[in-house]
Amino acid sequence: MTTVPYSSSLGRETTYLNHSHKIRSWLLTLDHKRIAILYMISITFFFMIGGAAAVLMRLELMTPQGDLVKAETYNKLFTMHGVMMVFFFLIPSIPAVLGNFLIPLMVGAKDLAFPRLNLASWYLFMIGGLFALASLVAGGVDTGWTFYTPYSSTYSNSYVVLAVVGIFINGFSSILTGLNFIVTIHTMRAPGLTWFRLPLFCWSLYATSLIFILGTPVLAITLVLVGVERIFHIGVFDPSLGGDPILFQHLFWFYSHPAVYIMVLPSMGVVSEVITCFSRKRIFGYAFVAFSSVAIAVLGFLVWGHHLFVSGQSIYGGLIFSILSFMVAIPSGVKVFNWTATLYKGSIALQTPMLYCLGFIGLFTIGGLTGLYVASIAVDVHVTDTYFIIAHFHYIMVGGAVMAYMAGLHFWWPKMTGKMYSEWMGRFSALLIFVGFNLTFFPQFILGYLGMPRRYYAYAPEFQALNVLSSAGASVLGVGYLLPLLYLLWSLRWGKNAGPNPFRATGLEWKTSSPPPTENFEKTPIVNEEAYAYHRMEMTGDTVATH
């Protein structure tokens, strides 16, 4: 890697962003911060593709008849939406962007433990993404992101193998990222930074990483088996060839249910950071919040069977998975209560990250509470595979994970870029997203209980009113997601300088300049207090934002 010292006539500091401007210095960088930026650009691209598919779907669903696209096209749209959003946006969003950027900073290290592996995971991610894109360009995949057999392995006439190869490769990107985080958090903490002084963001990413390394390989081998059945016509999952389609569902959900926690655990970490900063309070019940992350990760591996309540598993199997699914609601509830209690007697400022963060708590609460409906096995029989499920998991994965990603992005944007965005635009878009989201997805709970099945491109006329409402909400939501793209880009050029700690937050990442220098800290920091020690923080002097 060639690095050219940057010095301008203005005497600007040399940062990880400006020490070299060559393309090579970006594409071959081993700096976790630059890799984070690479990820940020890539996932934004995949988000746009997934979002475009969603727009077309919501347009099609404005009327009960299938009139905008063909059934076949609609099926490819929802598959592409799911594959892009789940595997190429949500799963890498907070871990690969914010985690990559922040974990070394938060633990006071110069980089992640294995910088080359880190760069390799970005390349694997991009290669996987290109395969998925190739399947789209070649003509699309129509199996849904769940790839249920034997439809995916025998009957579908679309480019399943390309998409499956893409997800397989992308899985190794997740595994390497998780491995890097675990090792970094274990071995590279700064002197004095004990486990119980770690920011909760690190705890939650640690739990996420456990799922990455233990769940992803099972998905990988499952997809290999699907590919083999498809290419060689050997009956692994297709009963007409001697296989068992339910085995696929068990293997698939063994990864893909924990994958939901891959999306939401990092969000919980972001919320713990943001809510403490904007209420200037230590988190209420640090140990409970920390251990509930681990509890969610562990319990999350034991509940996959709740996706199979009507698939034909035994009654007792169903009951066991039902009770375990109720259990996993408890640590999530504990977190929500602790965040709310953190606000009590705080000094609360409703700045942009905080608005996103409170939006997360509200939407996640609804998503979590509707989780009780689907854990209730008798109700799930009625609502599974309907729009109720769509609404439920979008409340968790979009209302939860994307809200938190936005909260984190706005919270650490000044740290990552050194620039402040327009606060008013930020607040406005947070509000827009919250309103648009509820308009889009709340009607879908009602639709689902009414019995509208998911993945229908034409539907019974009595469902139209609620679908129109949902599509209207989606247009608000779409604008809400486009705005940040504009004003954040705008801030890069015209934003005010942020200074090292514009929000006066605790945490090691705020103790270095914004954007940080390549080696993160001038000298290794020493930690001598617990996380979120806002009550001891000096509120005047050099931590105030400079303009």
Binding site: T3, Y6, K110, D111, I175, V224
Partner: protein, 240 residues
């Protein structure tokens, strides 16, 4: 920090201790990170093979007869010979790691080369076995379907149940190829890594203080060995 300072941290402290990467404080930290990283990776590997073995277990419990019948057609003696080869290779690796701990460059190189040669021997034998399997038409798909009566003369093709039996035999064969194939890929990766390590070791890059790469390659190689120890009885010795 001022702009006049040298910027590249790699340039600053790359070689102040041989083998210590710039972002670690000391050798102990680096070694701890490498070890933990390798164990975490092996945990991933266990789940990777575990997923395939779970599928294997489901079908074996269901189609025991067909799996046993198919398994009897594999060359158990080749499998046993290969087990011996691989175990010896693993032993050589252990000797290499031990030599690295004592900073004995010559021994490290010798034992690494022996490990590699035995690994290659395993792959060659495996290749010959695949060829023999192919000659016996033990390949799922059209080759098998055209020639199955040679292998299973007692099966009546007109009997309605026989089609399912033959499908199940092919399912076993598919697991045989997938599991041994993935295992072989792991061997190839391991051998490639060890070739690089041997060259570096010959150039004196590893010392009694810095030898984690050899240590890690050892962990990996033993893991690949252990996987084979599981595959041998599961694939070659199915009884019903």
């Amino acid at each position: 920090m001022t702009p006049s300072q040298p910027i590249d941290p790699h340039a600053l402290d790359r070689h102040h201790v041989q083998g210590l990467a710039h972002h670690f404080d000391d050798m102990d930290q680096q070694h701890e990170a490498a070890t933990l990283g390798m164990w975490a990776f092996l945990a991933t590997e266990v789940l990777f093979f575990g997923g395939a073995l779970a599928g294997y277990a489901v079908y074996r419990s269901r189609y025991g007869d067909a799996f046993a019948a198919a398994s009897h057609h594999l060359y158990l003696w080749i499998g046993v010979i290969n087990t011996a080869v691989l175990l010896t290779s693993s032993f050589m690796m252990a000797l290499a790691v031990n030599a690295a701990k004592h900073g004995n460059r010559k021994k490290v190189v010798t034992f690494l080369i022996l490990t590699i040669l035995l690994g290659l021997a395993f792959l060659c034998i495996k290749g010959i076995e695949y060829y023999l399997d192919y000659r016996e038409h033990l390949v799922p798909g059209s080759i098998f379907e055209a020639n199955w009566h040679e292998m299973f003369p007692h099966i009546d093709g007109a009997h309605p149940g026989s089609m399912m039996f033959l499908r199940q035999v092919q399912l076993f064969l598919m697991f045989y190829y997938i599991l041994t194939g993935i295992h072989a890929v792991h061997m190839i990766v391991g051998i490639s890594v060890m070739i690089v390590l041997t060259v570096k070791a010959a150039r004196g890059r590893y010392t009694a203080e810095y030898n984690s790469p050899i240590d890690m390659a050892g962990l990996y190689w033993h893991f690949v060995d252990v996987v084979w120890i599981f595959l041998l009885p599961l694939l070659y010795m199915v009884q019903h």
